[in-house]
């Protein structure tokens, strides 16, 4: 297990809650660490893209598995 991988379960939450939880989780991390977010709100795809564009954090991957969205973001 990568010790720098943080996880956030945002399943069942709707906009804007996944973004707020993501922002809080990232605030508690060190630069370069990675956050993996699982979400069910389809709007979270656009939201997290916009969030990364605006904050400078890097979207490493974004996949959908059985209706669950899985994002990996590296903290700037």
């Amino acid at each position: 297990m990568n010790e720098n991988l943080h996880t956030l379960d945002a399943r069942g939450l709707n906009c804007p809650l996944p973004i707020l939880r993501t922002r809080k989780a990232i605030a508690a991390m060190q630069s370069g660490e990675i956050l993996e977010i699982t979400a069910t709100d389809p709007g979270s795809v656009k939201d997290l893209d916009a969030f990364c564009n605006q904050t400078g954090h890097q979207m490493l991957s974004n996949q959908q598995v059985d209706g669950i969205f899985i994002f990996r973001i590296r903290k700037a």
């Binding site: 804007p16 973004i19 709007g43 939201d47």
Partner: protein, 202 residues
């Protein structure tokens, strides 16, 4: 789910969407019933009048807010002034998501209803005013806490809280009029710089 609760929830949900997308006056009971797929008789069983429905919609939405993003943004574990940034973020992403979906930025449901109803219905006006008071109270306690922690010099917390509420609602109105949620991202962060000083002789 209990079918009786389910019917009431469906009516509430449909009314909330329609009031928010259009307006209170523009949406009739028939349209709400059609959208919720319930009979008119069933509607009147739960809501004797359209005003009763509007009261329930306001309660429902205020409740969602209080337990949803208001609770998340005004989190006591966050430094007080940072809570304001989270609240602006919440408003921005919420309005942006709605615009991405509908093509129009809906604005603040409470603000929209307040503008429409305040001169027409005293009971609903008072209800909306109570919602604004609750949001104002969150700003107020945030400011009090920031002063206690030495993060802010003493100021008129009550008047500053009201100024923040006015700024928030005014900004949402402007963004709605421009149909552009970016207005929230551009103007929003300045909310934490608002200050109303205490009277000089105090």
């Amino acid at each position: 789910m209990n079918p009786i609760i389910h019917t009431r929830e469906r009516i509430l949900h449909a009314a909330r969407e329609l009031f928010h997308a259009r307006s209170y006056a523009d949406v009739g009971i028939k349209e709400i019933c059609d959208s919720a797929r319930v009979q008119k008789g069933s509607f009147y069983h739960f809501f004797p009048s359209k005003r009763d429905l509007a009261m329930a919609v306001i309660d429902d939405m205020a409740d969602d807010w209080a337990h949803g993003f208001i609770a998340e943004a005004f989190d006591r574990n966050l430094p007080p002034l940072e809570r304001l940034d989270y609240m602006i973020d919440a408003a921005y992403y919420w309005q942006k998501a709605a615009k991405d979906l509908e093509g129009r930025m809906p604005g603040c449901l409470f603000g929209n209803l307040a503008l429409e109803i305040s001169t027409r219905d005293e009971v609903l006006r008072a209800k909306l005013n109570a919602v604004f008071d609750k949001v104002g109270a969150r700003f107020h306690e945030t400011l009090e806490e920031a002063i206690e922690q030495g993060l802010l010099a003493p100021l008129d917390t009550e008047a500053t809280a009201q100024a923040m509420l006015a700024y928030l609602e005014g900004m949402l109105l402007l963004a709605k009029t421009r149909n552009d949620p970016e207005v929230i991202r551009e103007l929003g962060p300045a909310i934490s710089t608002l200050r109303v000083e205490l009277p000089a002789n105090n």
